[in-house]
């Protein structure tokens, strides 16, 4: 942890909002990207990250000095996304999706395969989608994926494998984790 980081953390814990802002700025982008892949909806992603920022601000006393902020904050964001997906708003199909469903037969095979994969990601259980997003989209090292998921690196590797297996009906994955 850099001296700047430690100083910001100390100031933020003392109630300095600006210092908390400086602390959070580098992790805002990955947090938002994670929320977008989890929720696939800009408004919902903004809500989730906003709520996560407020919770992080309130829980800052619990953040361990010397720990990395990014996995800690991403874990809060992931939790907010889980909450959002459990909500009633999430149980509905967007009107735009209705248009897509009603568009009829697909002639372009490539488009169809991509649509299959997109649909499979939509259907994927949240914990699988989270593991894939952290590893393949945010490109986090497996040790950091493990910290976000709250498990060992071996456990994180296993979760990524399981997520791929769950996605396999839509694509034949051959990857090294």
């Amino acid at each position: 942890m850099s001296d700047d980081h430690a100083e910001h953390l100390q100031q933020a814990r003392a109630g300095d909002g600006r210092a908390f802002g400086d602390l959070l700025a580098p992790v805002l982008d990955p947090a938002f990207r994670l929320a977008m892949t989890m929720l696939n909806d800009r408004t919902a992603a903004e809500d989730a990250v906003q709520e996560a920022a407020l919770k992080a601000w309130r829980k800052l006393d619990r953040f361990r000095s010397g720990a990395e902020l990014r996995p800690w904050f991403l874990a809060i964001v992931a939790n907010e996304c889980r909450t959002a997906r459990r909500g009633r708003w999430w149980g509905v199909l967007r009107f735009a999706d209705l248009d897509r469903l009603q568009r009829g037969a697909v002639t372009d095979r490539g488009w169809a395969e991509r649509a299959d994969l997109d649909a499979a990601l939509d259907r994927l259980a949240q914990h699988h989608l989270l593991a894939l997003s952290l590893y393949y989209h945010l490109d986090l090292p497996i040790e950091e994926v493990a910290r976000v998921l709250g498990c060992s690196p071996g456990g994180a590797r296993q979760r990524v494998h399981r997520a791929l297996a769950a996605l396999r009906p839509a694509m034949a994955m051959e990857v090294d984790v």
Binding site: R94, R114, Q126, A166
Partner: protein, 386 residues
């Protein structure tokens, strides 16, 4: 990188995006507007604890002197079955910020209750023209708390809890009011501290509490690996029995999220209907004619949109957009286009509650519309607290 891995990264990239400058500014202003409350709360907590300790000791001393020697006796079996009246501070006007989750309960043509996710409850006795704020038993409510009322006085609230991974388990508290949400009593609690004494297990996430009269109610439960459960009570919420929904035709439950979630149970005489939604958004309607002991799938929605509104036992609507809405008059056997002037800005389906076959209310993200002709014409009414 294999082609398939590249394809997965592409698909994830397409779902993703960068935060807008406006959103960055919003987050920045949030942080500067709100001071970390932890230190303030610690100080308040210390002072409060000291005051409470002194007050409690004082009260106990006075009580001991007034009552004489303390009698020993069996401890209460459990607090789950001993309802506790709650303190009820006078409701103070509180603003509702839109958009947010709103839940409507329309027990009759004129009575309408609105519960907002931020923890506010309102009642209207004139179809939403005027509102009064009512109290809640606790401010410690999860985002999945919900309320259900059978008239202007009698209602129940499920607090929700903290769900386990994949919704393998979740506690819940059920509260009852008999005086229009002035006071509340806890009638059931599931907290995992011991075996269930009220019939509700810790397993699965609890949601969608609904009562069809003063004694008969239902609570849905689901997880990512098993069939959904619908608990039923016939004593106002004190004891519950669960039964599961069978797989509807064309759908097979699979572990890993391919399961059903049941909605609110709606009663039409001796017939009960409930809509369950699968992980892909398809809606199935189940019927029970034995009080909820067994459920039979009877129909599937014309389009999956989680927006079937049950106006009567056999007349249902799917409000999608003014030129796409659908109606069935034979309990889902056939659907036809339904002309309605319903429209809204949000690109998601509304949740509709009918008080009877004609008067109904639709809500999306806190905005409310009313129909008095069965869903053909809609009028925006003022959201309470705004």
């Amino acid at each position: 990188m294999t082609p398939d891995e590249r394809e997965l990264r592409r698909a994830l990239d397409e779902r993703s995006g960068e935060p807008s400058p406006e959103f960055r500014a919003r987050i920045s202003s949030l942080r500067q507007d709100e001071r970390s409350p932890s230190r303030t709360l610690s100080s308040i907590a210390l002072v409060a604890a000291a005051v409470l300790t002194i007050a409690t000791i004082g009260v106990l001393l006075v009580a001991r002197q007034a009552l004489g020697p303390v009698r020993s006796g069996p401890a209460s079996a459990t607090r789950l079955t001993s309802p506790t009246a709650t303190p009820f501070p006078s409701p103070t006007p509180t603003q509702v910020f839109l958009p947010q989750t709103a839940q409507l309960s329309a027990p009759s043509t004129d009575i309408l209750w609105a519960y907002f996710g931020q923890g506010l409850l309102f009642r209207s006795t004139d179809r939403g023209d005027t509102w009064e704020q009512r109290t809640l038993p606790t401010q410690n409510l999860s985002p999945f708390a919900n309320v259900t009322f059978v008239d202007d006085q009698h209602g129940w609230l499920s607090t929700g809890g903290s769900p386990e991974s994949e919704c393998n388990g979740e506690g819940a508290g059920i509260w009852q009011t008999n005086d229009g949400a002035a006071t509340w009593q806890q009638v059931a609690l599931v907290d995992g501290s011991g075996p269930s004494v009220n019939g509700i297990g810790l397993a699965q996430c609890k949601e969608n509490l609904s009562f069809v009269d003063r004694t008969h109610g239902f609570l849905a439960a689901w997880d990512a690996n098993h069939q959904p459960t619908i608990y039923r009570t016939s004593d106002g919420g004190r004891s519950w029995t669960g039964s599961t929904l069978p797989d509807p035709p064309g759908f097979k439950i699979q572990a890993g999220g391919f399961t059903l979630r049941a909605g609110l149970v709606k009663g039409f005489g001796s017939t009960l209907l409930v809509i369950a939604t699968d992980s892909q958004g398809s809606d199935y309607v189940f019927r029970s004619i034995d009080g909820g002991a067994t459920w039979t799938p009877i129909a599937k929605a014309a389009v999956g949109a989680d927006n079937i509104a049950l106006a009567t036992e056999s007349r249902w609507l799917q409000l999608i957009a003014s030129d796409q809405s659908l109606e069935t008059l034979d309990a889902g056997k056939s659907w036809h286009q339904y002309p309605t002037d319903y429209s809204q800005a949000a690109p998601i389906a509304p949740v509709v509650s009918f008080g009877d076959g004609l008067v109904g209310y639709a809500t999306v993200r806190g905005s409310i519309q009313r129909t008095v002709d069965g869903g053909m014409h809609w009028l925006i009414i003022k959201t309470p607290g705004t």
